[in-house]
Amino acid sequence: MMHAAFFLTFAVLTLAGAVAAALLRNLVHCALSLTVTFAGLALLYLSLGAEFVGLTQVLVYIGAVAILVVFAILLTRGSGSLPRQMLSSSGWRVGWLAAVAVGFVLVAALRDAPFAQSQGNAPVVSVKEIGQALMGPFALPLEIVGVLLTVALIGAVIVAMPEKPMLENPVLKNQMPEKQGGAE
């Protein structure tokens, strides 16, 4: 009973945040409601007994991704409210139709799907066991994730680095048209 109440609260929080992110006009509000969704998901993980994942969700999504999104919005001057026609792309009816259809199909399929469900308690996984698993059987994925994160870090820095002006770029310099003289 208690668990059901918690589940309903967290699920409503999660979905309400997502709906708000879909409908709000101000981009920063969208980002903040996205944070609500992340928090709701973290609470769902905690209620499922996945303590470590829930806390990682908070640390990574609320602490880093949400901040990143917000910074990106401000850096691209998108913090004001958008006019209605700027909100959605031209094919938004088709898009929402597709999304609702996918959701409907998924929900309908899941409702009747015969999953083998264990009714026992949550599997107890201590942080120590997670660490040992990461260093033992999951060492290779861990290394790959490490490499991926490093590459992403360097890639993001290079992509977002200010571009050199054309005149300093040796390749583009030769392709520049000759300066038009005689401008008064």
Binding site: V28, H29, L32, T35, E51, F52, L55, T56, V58, L59, I62, G63, A64, A66, I67, V70, F71, L74, S79, S126, V127, K128
Partner: protein, 410 residues
Amino acid sequence: MNLNAGWASTGWTSTLDQIFVLVQHRVAELFPPVLQPWVAMILGVVGIVAVFPAIFALTTVLERKGLGRMQNRLGPNRVGPYGILQPMADAIKSLTKEDIIPRSADAVVHFLAPVVLVVAIFLGYAVLPVGRNMVLMPIDAGILFFFAIGASTELSIFMAGWSSRNKYSLLGAMRAVAQMISYEVPLLLSAVVAIMMTGSLSPEAIVAAQGGFSGVLPHWYVFTPWGFAGFALFVVAALAETNRSPFDLPEGESELVAGYFTEYSGFKFALFFLGEYLGMMSIAGYGITLFLGGWGAPFSFLAFIPSWAWFFGKLFLAIFFFIWLRGTLPRLRQDQLMNFAWKFMLPMSLLNLLVAAAWRFLGEWLGAGVGAEAIRWLACAAVLGGTYVLLGRAMLRRQKIGPRSYRYAE
């Protein structure tokens, strides 16, 4: 609740040590069994919500008096004996002030920001062991919980700065968020050494691992080379993380009025103030837990003093150190701040991880014995100290400023 094994003391000292836990149990037993865990939980929450704001109130006046003494002044001494009731006056003032919301502000976000900040910071206390068996929520990944909560305060600071529709607020918030993100990396990495050595993310386990004495001296992590380096890095990163001087750029009065809470007044401003000090105290509490033995006594012959008294004593010392630094150091520049985070703190904390790992394996290879211990100690200290000197020299070289040249004068 099982008391720590090997903790031998007479009856009344252990009663005094556990007095709050016992009171909690006695009160909870008055209720039907179904409600008992909830009552115990609520009592714990009430305790934290009462004690730490009270310390905050005391800290504000002590800070002002301490700063005054450091600047050869007396500090506030008008309200009550020795000015000790100053927080009351401040509280009355901030509660009776008009609550101003700028006309163009985003009212909802503007209102939510201080609330979210204070709630998040209070959550951080949930896993902080303030005494033996005195932790509200003994979870396995307590330290991770604290860092996750700490990371989420950044968002509320952004909310405050953005929703005010004020360029100073926004600049202050941007500075604060950039600074907090930059210093979160060394903060986490410097804490990791203690976690590595304990082999647990639980604050209680970390405190327990630092228990025990060799001779009269305790086994605190701060007394090892990697522990000392980790502690120093943690303190610097904690200062930056809580926007304390000398890293208080986000609220640099001379250029940003008051940073992200420029547009807040009255009770909301008081909430920000409260949040700032509570954040400082919680991060100091975790620093104590990670490196200074938590609630452990510093000498074996003083172990009869209750554990909570030790914790709060250490907390007050940490707060005094923060005040001392504030009275001493001028504010950094933004470029110095970022340089320091990425070019000094990050390499140092990464090296410290390496040294901590080396310490562990050197201990296995060299075996026990005073000579082996000394070699291990000196080797680790030499690596850390040498790198500190080299990196420090590099930092200082960059700062050297040539003689000023004038284009038109002279």
